[in-house]
Symmetry: D2
Subunit: 288 residues, 4 copies
């Protein structure tokens, strides 16, 4: 299929590479053009603008935040009026997702398709995709989503619902990290090694990737280099907070993780992993 | 082996039954004697007192709270000076576990062996046991622990460490329930069905029993009859809180779940499941 | 002095009236022009635009939110290039206050002068003003601030500092309300009337207007009509939250009040007073 | 009047001294007898036991905690069956206050009369007393309460209600300290001096002793020597927590202050003032 890909950070570049490997005809664009070099070498076309990349059946975008997505859609040479169905993978606010769905109505169409997975999963084509939009739009981009993921969850016709699920998932991750951090700190001050507690947890009711992955990070204090930095984590939790304000949902656990992300950044600096909330928890207990 | 079993509630009765099935010679005692009838019918000896039940190589106890354990150990006809190694399965305070270890020193010995699992798991012999105590004590009761569980975690020589791990595990369960409750409420008010969110979560990073079991309870509002009641859950969280005070560990997430347990009991009554914190979360968002 | 006044809601109209009474020559402007009628009757000049109102020595603005202030400053016929010193009384974000100070630099100047006080205090000329800006600017507008207030606090040369103090003050008010709400609910469920607790508190260490005013509101359940509505309160607390994120300051008490404001709005509707967080607290305890 | 006084710490000694000054005939007792020396020198009788001190019309007690009160009432030579009306000034649990009222029924009577005020206020006879009990009991001890205080609040016939009000008051103090700590930290990181913020607060809506006293402590970092230590503060907050559990009242702000007291003790040591929660708040923001 003829497809454009906009946003070639570590996640986006890996996804575009997998589209090429799957045999699709890919045009790529990135604000800093040098990020496109490797993909062009690998067979992609270098697009001159977002609009140029969207001269395709589908244009996929994977960008850092609301502002970047706004610029690519509504900015100069933006994709809004292009012939391509827009599949947006970025983690953005519910409000923007709703606005994008409205803006694309009567045009080529819009699908929200945020992903779960760290860069390594993106490179392996093992992301999870949560997709929402009109059924025929979802059908149209299905082969592309399959090419970048191990599984696609279709969750209905309202695009922003996929963003809400994505944000909820990130909140669930931080909640599990917070719980682990508090329990491990209690255990450690009580004379039980973090690894010991973790082995029991993952060997019983908590045998899920979220506990295994983050449990090891916490047990071994592996917070640098960051797999996903605390400032990015806080950005996402702020998006959850905005959704909670819009829907009037009290979320005290969200408050706890936001405060600990602020503490981790204030105490450790911006390069700390978002799991570094554990350091703030430990410091609160006087063992940091 | 000749073994005594004290405390024949639903959990204890199931465990004693599995000891019988495994071929052990079991004497049973319960404060309300009729709870022993079925086991006597199945081949157990009816002990006249805790002390009588402890005329054995090992005496196991599975009781409701600190007071019940105190009574069985230090009360009239208590087991403190009996010849049996005491294996305590009850969920008790760290402070009592430490005191019991000290009290049994120089006597027949003490092992803390709290369990994870609901009554159905106890009946199937599928509990998880977390055991701590002197190695020779752990060796001596090993066949008995195997008879009641699918797996035994040995975590060292300090008995109270096992209680700390047990309490931490219960805190982790409530934390996962709280996280699910907040995320599901946010999702539902934003137009995403609870089941939809749950399917994505358990299909991606959250494929652990804790999310599957409690996720279904929350998605289907199955809070009665209680598998584990909110007042018992609050009792356990208060034990965690006492440990946190003793070790000076701030645990804001613990504070959140304790407040929601109080709310659930105040709003719903004492017969609500501890997962009923989700009802308090929903009510806070105006959809209760 | 020749002065313009922009924004004639209940607060602004009262302030402009007091300027007239003090003998100043006042031009007034409001987006809905009929709000100016009474003031024109009382001797004010009806300005044709914000820019027209700012043909003066000083132009004061008292508007609802960031967007309204932006429109008046940077919009069509905005005041940015007018000859008048801009004295901004609105409760706005720190970020906007910083931007406004920068934008007015090299022009006629900018002072942040947010106020404490409900409409009745504004009518009586009994507001408190917190003012920050260049000393000569503060000197120039001093007679005007005196005319609308019982006291002016000068807190330095950085305008946004005044906004930070204002937001902190509103946070302190909500914190006192939250504390009263929790204590009164505990007292009431324990058999002590709210009025009884309040009398002891205000008769001892808590004899300040914030406890007297809000204590009576809570003791008597006077949440409608709202003196200051919960949605406006939440808006302000969100501004505090944004400042806390920008400065990386964990504020768990802020999290508590934001959650209870959300709960109050979700449960009671948008017309509830911000002190209605007490209803959410009571409901959490099953007595709502 | 013939009166006994039990418990001669800094608070109790000051109160007993004021009883002497008011012309009462005072017998004193303390577990460490040397604490009575100065009072005996000043004219008090040295009692041989609590029971001996209670050979009087009224016996007042001012002790450290539940255990100390239990010992004096129910221990060897305890006062339970003495002829004196027991007036209990100690800060104790609601549960113990209820038990004491029941235990004294049909005997000489019981009044709960906890006090507000630091040692300096006790020395000046400027305490506030919150008193509850039977009217004739309150009448009988009225001259004594007047001798130690600037004001007595009678709040009804149920003694434990006075303890509930006292605990609620201490919770209100810690809530004000927490609010000040968060606001001052936000202000300071935003470039506003703590003193500046405090001057505006106490000059406007927050002109109460609680903000003046603790505001200065926080502004000047005067946390040692402790006027009231963090461990004692945590003990009191734990009593509030127990009352909240008994009445099923969610109190998230209580959770915040308990966590910060734990943090202050863990980070600073047991000699820190309870207002030292501010240090934990600052440390959380990376400026500790």
């Amino acid at each position: 299929m003829k497809v454009g890909f906009i946003g070639l950070g570590r996640m986006g570049a890996a996804m575009a590479t997998n589209l090429l490997k799957a045999g699709h005809e890919v045009a790529v664009w990135n604000r800093s053009p040098d990020k496109a070099d490797a993909l062009v070498q690998a067979g992609a076309r270098r697009a001159a603008s977002p609009r140029d990349a969207a001269e395709a059946a589908v244009v996929m975008s994977m960008l850092a935040d609301d502002a970047a997505v706004e610029a690519v859609v509504h900015g100069a040479d933006g994709i809004l009026d292009a012939p391509a169905l827009h599949v947006s993978h970025s983690t953005i606010s519910i409000a923007l997702a709703e606005r994008l769905a409205a803006d694309h109505a009567g045009r080529a169409g819009y699908v929200s398709a945020p992903v779960f997975g760290r860069p390594a999963a993106a490179e392996a084509g093992k992301l999870f995709v949560v997709a929402a939009g009109a059924t025929d739009h979802l059908d149209r981009c299905a082969p592309l989503l399959d090419a970048v993921s191990q599984r696609v969850f279709r969750i209905g016709e309202t695009p922003s619902a996929a963003n809400l699920v994505k944000l909820s998932g990130n909140f669930m991750i931080m909640s599990a990290v917070e719980a682990l951090a508090e329990a491990m700190t209690l255990a450690e001050k009580g004379g039980v090694a973090r690894e010991t507690l973790l082995a029991v947890l993952t060997g019983t009711l908590f045998g899920a990737p979220v506990y295994q992955t983050y449990g090891e990070i916490l047990a071994q204090d592996r917070f640098r280099p960051a797999g996903f930095s605390a400032p990015l984590g806080l950005k996402d939790m702020n998006l959850v907070d905005a959704a909670a304000t819009a829907s009037q949902v009290p979320m005290p656990l969200l408050g706890v993780v936001r405060d600990h992300l602020r503490a981790a950044i204030a105490q450790e600096g911006e390069d700390i992993d978002w799991a570094g909330v554990a350091l703030a928890v430990r410091r609160g207990a006087g063992i940091g």
